[in-house]
């Protein structure tokens, strides 16, 4: 079970509180998590990655185990601690603005 933390605006949009727990089948990657997340919460489609080209939105970041993994391939395996549910996969609104 993978723990996912959404930014506040997306928790509101998805009408959820706190962490989400997703049962991801197969290798745990960014793409697998987002596929599962968007299937469970269709209102999040397009808010984290572009619906047409699949690219991460420019002001969204992915953190795992205190590392910014945003620039990693969406098909790279995530750290074992995330896969095991010890550490969450964080989806973050990038720090921007004043």
């Amino acid at each position: 079970m993978i723990r996912v933390v959404l930014p506040a605006h997306l928790r509101t949009l998805a009408r959820v509180e706190g962490e989400l727990k997703l049962d991801v089948e197969g290798p745990a990657t960014q793409r697998a998590i987002l596929d599962k997340l968007e299937a469970a919460y269709p209102m999040l489609r397009g808010t984290i990655r572009d619906q047409v080209n699949g690219q991460r939105r420019a002001f969204v970041r992915f953190f795992a185990c205190e590392q910014d993994v945003s620039q990693d391939s969406p098909d790279d395996p995530l750290p074992e601690a995330v896969v095991a549910g010890v550490e969450p996969f964080l989806i973050v609104g990038a720090m921007a603005g004043g």
């Binding site: 605006h9 997306l10 949009l13 397009g46 808010t47 984290i48 619906q51 939105r57 969204v60 609104g93």
Partner: protein, 371 residues
């Protein structure tokens, strides 16, 4: 008894205001979608409880919200706006060609007779339509595939399709406006389009009388007389008496003919409202005075409406979609400012009062008249 509902989109959320026909006491609901930019909200003429909202964010992109109970509760619907076929290019600020790229929905125009059909004007300029209440959106490709599209260029706010007017007398006739391309008209429900910019003169482009490239800020019509159109251009207030085939300047005695919104009185097709702005490089009111100008002669002759509006040290702007009228008698006129005030007049502009103030910067104002 009639009521009015005012739909306000701001930089940080949506607000819904309601009042009875006196329009004196206002109930304020919101913010809805707090923290998100609400470029536009509009209700269906066929079912006033059906309201659509364009919600967007630089971080999280575009969301479309739909209400079926007059704005009390909302549900997300489809937000995939995918250009169809070859994407093509348009002119960029530096003179190079750049591919069309979706940024946001600027304007949502519900069909006059079907609550599930809505037109969406987007940035980069294109026209989309849903016929299933917003679940899916399909591009009306004839517009973006117009041969002039490579000459379209973004205005300062982006290359947006910001105005959609549905002609109630001629089924299938639609007017749209793009900044900075100009006005286009379709007579076949959006399949094919013709530029409608003859008579416009824009000194900001190499050929001031070009067929396209004009920074049209807003167009408006009265439903009883849809062949007459009024336009607030980047500079110039214009009028067409032939369904957009030609335009003439009706700025007359306005203190400045730069501005964004323009609207028409609900019962007097020759009564028009604008809010002059000092200039395109300053984007605030002239002389620190918030003055709506009204023409009762379809242009040329304008009077300043100031009663109840601040007449000193006021330097706000009123954006293109931030003015609307109700259908009561006397006609109500409403507008919102970048300073977060929404002013209303229940006597066709003779006097004004804020119906809410200190909101986030107002982007859009629409009004529903409810029976």
């Amino acid at each position: 008894m009639s009521r009015v509902r005012v739909l306000i989109g701001t930089r940080k959320g949506a607000f819904v205001l309601t009042a009875d026909a006196k329009r004196e006491r206002w109930d304020v609901s919101g913010p809805h979608f707090g923290g998100w930019e609400i470029y536009h909200m509009k209700g269906s003429p066929a079912d006033p409880n059906r309201i659509y909202a364009s919600q967007s964010s630089s971080w999280f992109g575009q969301v479309i919200q739909r209400s079926s109970d007059g704005g009390k509760t909302w549900e997300t619907v489809g937000n995939k706006f995918a250009y169809e076929g070859a994407v093509g290019n348009h002119l960029w600020y530096d003179g190079t060609q750049r591919p069309f790229e979706f940024a946001r929905v600027w304007h949502l125009e519900p069909s006059l007779d079907d609550p599930d059909t809505v037109y969406a004007g987007i940035q980069d300029a294109a026209m989309f339509r849903t016929t299933d209440g917003g679940q899916t959106w399909r591009e009306l490709t004839g517009l973006r595939n117009h041969p002039s599209a490579p000459e379209w260029q973004p205005g300062a706010g982006g290359m947006c399709l910001h105005t959609i007017l549905l002609d109630p007398r001629h089924p299938g006739r639609i007017y749209i406006a793009i900044s900075a391309a100009g006005v286009f008209r379709s007579d076949d429900a959006g399949e094919t389009w013709r530029p409608m910019n003859r008579g416009l003169v824009s000194e900001q482009i190499p050929n001031p009388t070009a067929e396209v490239g004009h920074c049209v800020h807003r167009i408006a019509m009265h439903p009883s007389r849809p062949n007459v159109l009024f336009m607030q251009k980047h500079w110039d207030v214009m009028r067409s008496d032939d369904a957009g085939e030609s335009w003439k300047d009706v700025g007359g005695n306005l203190p400045t003919d730069f501005g964004f919104p323009i609207d028409v009185h609900a019962h007097e097709p020759n009564t028009v409202y604008v809010v002059p702005i000092k200039s395109d490089s300053e984007h605030y009111l002239p002389d620190g005075k918030l003055r709506v100008y009204r023409s009762r002669t379809g242009g040329h002759e304008w009077e300043a409406l100031t009663k109840g509006l601040p007449q000193s040290h006021c330097y706000v702007n009123v954006l293109r979609d931030a003015m609307a009228v109700d259908a009561l008698d006397p006609c109500g006129v409403y507008f919102g400012t970048t300073g977060g005030q929404v002013y209303a007049s229940a006597d066709a502009g003779d006097s004004w009062a804020p119906i809410v103030r200190d909101l986030p910067s107002v982007v859009s104002v629409e009004v529903q008249t409810l029976s």
